[in-house]
């Protein structure tokens, strides 16, 4: 447990992604099986011990620590696992620390009735850092900023294997991933994935920089504003993966039930509605459905999900990814009628005369509230990641608004000494500035230095780490779309806001009004 505890400790305090990556790489290289497999599963939230819950830990603590002292401590610390780790008394005498796999085995074997005794005997053999790690492992919610994507990258880097292969294998092999490590270290063949609903890494697009590509070489489709998903049926199982390879099947039971074909599709997950070209609701509506473990009937009725299918990666046991887009498209059109039209439809290819015609249609995309266009090379196979010249995304131009800077906070990592996170607002009818968004990007390093100085020189008030700024600086903010939101006083929330220009020339009174932004709401 020592090594894993040390890793957790470093990850908690490290904000740099590259440093986190290096720490995990080092851990994977130098830790034996199956500890490293369990550890990485715990880091990515892939472990669940049904017999051990926060209530178990609280009840257990009550046997060793006064309840009132626990309550006061919990209130101060703000986290049950950490409070318990610090409060649990060190057991007297020398003790053999349990390893990660010993702890995992014991926790898996625990029943509801003996879970407290199992946890207690493990805690008695650990120091405070070890107890923290054990309790986080048991209760989940590590919160050390390690996504499945980062873990996979670390694995690829640790054993110098292609990330695409790791992406495919990862979700097909259960923790502690013994066959994955054996393959990574060259001790075994690549594991066989027949009859498994495994994840295929997504093909991604570059933004279109130069205009005027030839539509004889590229097919165009609308880019819908939902989330990219992959639905896979393999063996007897159907799974839905998001772009990062996280499984989100649980949130969309109706799609799982409706997908009854042996196939792999790539498409956009959307909610039925009017906003996007009269065919789909806004991204905001889809958000109501994301991240849920239990989906109520009401949710299913109010936000009915469907998938607009872009591509067919496999069907009836055949892998189509090596085929050119034209051929995959032909097979997709033939395949679509096999799926229930209530939940799956075909993304249409835009029949434009030439590039100018296409550009004109894109200009209309703002009214139709669609995100933009996708351009796909007709002769390209389906390959993982972003490859030059194969796929382009051509987003509609962003919206902009002139806003007034209201508050500023320091950034992280390299930006820790700079005020780089800005909250900005627009004028209400009553002449009051109301916050409409927050942005941390879009400016150059030179501009950041200037903004930092502006904040420091114009701070009438501080609230902890937050500086209130003299309401005098106008920022032109670019954003992809704007939605109604109950979370903010202005009733608005921007999507992808970034600072596009600093308008030192513009007086704050002339910044935009809330009403102007409301008119842009989709």
């Amino acid at each position: 447990m020592k090594r894993f505890a040390a890793l957790i400790d470093r990850l908690i305090y490290t904000r740099s992604r590259n440093t986190k990556l290096a720490l995990i790489v080092d851990y994977l290289r130098h830790t034996p099986d199956p500890d490293r497999g369990w550890a990485i599963a715990a880091l990515t939230g892939s472990l669940d011990f049904p017999a051990v819950k926060a209530g178990t830990v609280r009840a257990l603590l009550a046997t060793r620590v006064d309840e009132e002292l626990f309550r006061l401590s919990r209130h101060f610390v703000g986290d049950t696992a950490e409070t318990a780790a610090l409060l649990w008394p060190d057991a007297p005498g020398k003790k053999a620390e349990p390893g990660v796999s010993e702890a995992v085995d014991a926790l898996f074997a625990a029943t509801r009735s003996d879970a407290p005794a199992v946890a207690a005997s493990l805690l008695d053999r650990l120091d405070a850092d070890g107890r923290y790690t054990l309790l986080k492992l048991a209760l989940g919610g590590m919160r050390v900023g390690v996504s499945a994507r980062l873990a996979k990258q670390a694995f690829a880097q640790a054993f110098d294997v292609p990330i695409d292969d790791v992406e495919e294998l990862w979700h097909a092999i259960p923790p502690p991933y013994a066959s994955l490590f054996a393959w990574g270290e060259g001790r075994a063949e690549r594991p066989d994935l027949n009859d498994v609903a495994f994840f295929r890494p997504f093909m991604l697009a570059h933004p279109l920089e130069a205009e005027g590509i030839d539509l004889a070489d590229y097919a165009a489709e609308w880019k819908w504003d939902g989330i990219r998903v992959q639905i896979v049926r393999g063996g007897s199982e159907t799974r839905i993966y998001s772009r990062g390879g996280e499984e989100i099947s649980g949130a969309f039971p109706e799609l799982i039930a409706a997908f009854d074909q042996d196939a792999v599709i790539d498409g956009e997950l959307l909610v039925r509605g009017e906003v996007q070209g009269g065919e789909a609701a806004s991204f905001n509506a889809l958000q109501q459905r994301l991240g849920r473990k239990v989906v109520s009937k009401r949710m299913l009725a109010d936000y009915p999900a469907f998938v607009r299918v872009y591509d067919l990666l496999g069907v009836d046991g055949n892998d189509l990814r090596g085929l050119p887009w034209t051929e995959r498209r032909r097979q997709l059109e033939a395949f679509i009628p096999r799926l229930a039209a209530s939940h799956f439809d075909l993304s249409q290819v835009i029949d434009a005369k030439d590039f100018d015609d296409l550009a004109e249609r894109r200009a209309g995309a703002r009214d139709a509230a669609i995100e933009g266009l996708m351009l796909k090379r007709r002769d390209a196979p389906y390959v993982a990641g972003r490859r030059a010249g194969l796929w382009y995304k051509w987003k509609r131009d962003p919206l902009t608004a002139d806003c007034v800077m209201m508050y500023a906070q320091r950034g992280n990592g390299r930006r820790a000494s700079f005020y780089s996170d800005y909250t900005f607002g627009c004028w209400s009818d009553a002449g009051e500035l109301l916050p409409v968004g927050k942005a941390y990007s879009g400016f150059t390093d030179e501009e950041l230095k200037w903004l930092d100085k502006f904040v420091r020189d114009n701070t009438p008030n501080r609230f902890g780490p937050v500086r209130e700024v003299e309401k005098s600086l106008v920022l032109e903010v670019a954003f992809d779309s704007i939605h109604s939101s109950k979370r903010h006083k202005s009733g608005l929330a921007m999507r992808f806001p970034r600072i596009s220009r600093i308008r030192r020339d513009k007086p704050a009174e002339e910044a935009d009004r809330i009403a102007t932004l409301q008119a842009m709401v989709t």
């Binding site: 908690i12 904000r15 006064d66 006061l72 401590s73 610390v77 610090l86 409060l87 000494s417």
Partner: protein
């Protein structure tokens, strides 16, 4: 014998000793003040007369412009004291910072000890805490919750040295309170064999000099402001906590941000302060020290001045000790713990 403690009055702004017409650690200017130690939440300027140890008086002269040489201000060595209004006052080591003292008062057959701030573990920069038997023990409770158990200082210092050696291209910037903590960290580094010059923020210079003048060997110190960026790679730099993530730190080579404080025991606290290397080094007694000290002093009553009073009060209740919380205000716990 006087009725227990009736001759002293705890007020939000200090403890008033009635027969002597004297205040202990008053937060506002008074005619006559006895001061436990030099931290700003206990020592203020503007008093008519100050009674304190020589170390504390020197610190007050440096920080608050108190005239240490003036005849109305009196310095007393540990064990010494004075009598006023029938009350016998004496100063005893508290182990908190240079010059820190507990104040023992004896009046009408009753003994009261006011600890000020204290700790029990060894500190190379000040005299160790002495147990002074008394009837009423007036104690601090900064870390009066059982989650606060400071690990051995040597281990934290080893962590710091390990971090510097692990990344020779970066400096490690340690946030440490300017009075006490900074000098203790430096002295502990020297004890652990760190012989390289230690680089300091200008705000630490005078206090380090004062410690050195009182016989605390801090080795070679250099000012960051007089050093080039490259020379601080692979070195240890100390600054007041407020300078950690401020513009000042941009002059250091890609610093690893560390912080020496008892609060670092709680991970969320450390994360809030954007600390990458938390060092649990405190000048205050942790939970075990607080409870062990009360048991050892074994007073008739325990009065708790500031910190997590509720936690320590609960403990006293559990072990059936008579105790009360005084709710003194204006104690600046966050910065110097």
């Amino acid at each position: 014998m006087a009725k227990t403690g009736t001759w002293i009055e705890p007020h939000p702004g200090g403890i008033y000793v009635k027969p002597a017409d004297l205040w202990i650690d008053p937060s506002r200017p008074v005619e006559c003040a006895a001061v436990t130690h030099g931290h700003a939440d206990h020592a203020r300027s503007g008093h008519g007369a100050v009674f304190a140890t020589p170390g504390t008086l020197a610190i007050m002269a440096l920080r608050y412009g108190v005239d240490a040489g003036a005849s109305h201000n009196r310095a007393y060595a540990y064990g010494d004291g004075f009598e006023r209004g029938g009350v016998r006052f004496s100063f005893h080591p508290a182990g908190h910072v240079l010059g820190s003292a507990q104040i023992l008062m004896e009046y009408a057959g009753e003994r009261i000890v006011v600890t000020g701030d204290y700790k029990r573990r060894p500190d190379p920069t000040c005299a160790p805490f002495e147990v002074v038997p008394c009837d009423i023990f007036v104690t601090e409770a900064t870390f009066g919750l059982p989650v606060f158990r400071h690990p051995p200082t040597e281990g934290e210092i080893a962590k710091l040295i390990g971090a510097v050696r692990a990344e020779p291209d970066r400096s490690v910037l340690v946030g440490a309170y300017a009075l006490g903590k900074a000098q203790r960290v430096i002295a502990e580094l020297r004890r652990a064999g760190w012989e390289a010059p230690i680089f300091i923020h200008g705000a630490l210079e005078k206090m380090c000099n004062l410690y050195a003048a009182h016989g605390v060997d801090l080795g070679e110190l250099r000012l960051v402001s007089e050093t080039g960026k490259a020379a601080m790679a692979g070195q240890i730099v100390l600054a007041p906590p407020a300078a950690l993530n401020d513009r000042w730190s941009r002059r250091l080579p890609d610093p690893v941000t560390a912080m020496a404080s008892g609060w670092m025991r709680v991970r969320q606290r450390a994360r809030q302060r954007m600390v990458e290397l938390p060092l649990v080094i405190s000048d205050h007694a942790d939970w075990d020290e607080l409870t062990a000290t009360i048991a050892e002093v074994n007073p008739g009553e325990t009065w708790i001045t500031h910190g997590s009073e509720d936690g320590l009060l609960r403990w006293c209740e559990l072990v059936q000790r008579k105790a009360r919380a005084l709710h003194l205000v204006g104690r600046d716990l966050e910065e110097e713990a």
